[in-house]
Symmetry: D2
Subunit: 134 residues, 4 copies
């Protein structure tokens, strides 16, 4: 169980959002934020850093969006489904864009390969949460 | 001139996004994040805090989204317009939702009134940046 | 293995900071940020919310500090140990203050008890990383 | 008047921290966070980016710490002076470290010069708030 799941178990008035879909999306956003922060940093240390400028930029944006989404999903009191839907929709697009960028460098850099996987997992988890929100 | 504007003037390779619309949206997001953080906190100190739970929740979410958007808009290297569009679209929805919530308490609490105004300004600035991105 | 650990394995030029102490502190900061965000939110939904105002405030501050510290610890390129030391020292103090506040409500609220544990783990992990940085 | 100052004027129960010193530190932290985010990004677009790796890293860390500090200072309900002191002390050290790094590139890059100034302003504002907290 993740820390978020353990905390949800103690919540006095959880919102009605599909629990497993929300928990999976939250975890995927947290991991994507970590992967993107780490990938931007690893790119900076590569000898071909000049080839990785767009990747660093996209990683930083994706980390920022995913961290915000994770915080929003961690809150369950008086949830406005419209807000959740808006932010998760944005994050799906951003994670996909970041995956596409990282995939271009995945053969040369293992951190880009891992980060692309984390972005694709995040994209999928956002799609599944959005389906559950319909 | 804001700090962001002064920094943009020194950027070696600004992206092609409409400068004034971007700068206005960035500034509106920063102010909205500050207003929402402060409003959530002021609500906590009110004697009728139990009437303000949804307002606090929405403020915290809006502050989170606006801060992420502001950071994304502060970066101008290798910008992916798709990412900007996705996050600004989400922020417009979230700022509108937060404005609607704060407006319900605007008569009783000056911080809710000010915060609603900051959210409406943010909503408008997002709309204008999205128009400029078309 | 956490996502951060997997990413560190792919880093081309890791800094010289003690790996296990850093990874443990990073993970503890991430879990503490999640616990504090969730605890503040759960407190908001409690019928005795007026008794929990200081707890909500401290949770929000601790979440903010821990998230910043986690991001800083996730970067390993050109690390300035002085920066790491400063931020981890602050986080140790803040996590301890938040633990003390949450412990006062731990008997009545399971989320405060869990959050206090996460704060104490974070405090310990900070102490251990600071010892490794000497 | 900044948005934070306008919001403080509506707060029902402001803490006892010295108002002007707190407001100045908050504003300096916000401007430093913006300058550091923008400087890291501008460095990425420079042809001598390989000379600027440490500057980018330090900028990202300083932006993270300053944003956390600004959020903490924006809250005035049930303030724990110990938490404020801890985070402002860290930010002073981090802003100074970032100023020293940016000053090394200030002759060649106007964004580093501006960013160094914002860091020094932040360092001074932290020192003044810490003096007021004694």
């Amino acid at each position: 169980m993740t820390m978020a799941d353990r905390m949800f178990d103690t919540h006095p008035a959880l919102d009605a959002i599909d629990g497993p879909a929300l928990a999976a999306c939250l975890q995927a956003c947290r991991e994507c934020a970590t992967a993107c922060t780490a990938c931007a940093d690893a790119c900076l240390a590569e000898s071909d850093v000049t080839e990785l400028i767009a990747c660093i930029r996209t990683d930083l944006d994706c980390a920022e969006a995913c961290a915000a989404t994770a915080a929003i999903l961690t809150r369950r009191t008086a949830t406005d489904p419209q807000i959740v839907k808006a932010q998760v929709t944005a994050t799906r697009t951003i994670a996909r864009a970041c995956a596409e960028e990282c995939e271009m460098h995945a053969e040369h850099h293992a951190h880009c390969r891992l980060c692309a996987e984390a972005c694709r997992s995040c994209e999928r988890a956002c799609t599944e949460l959005l389906a559950a929100l319909e």
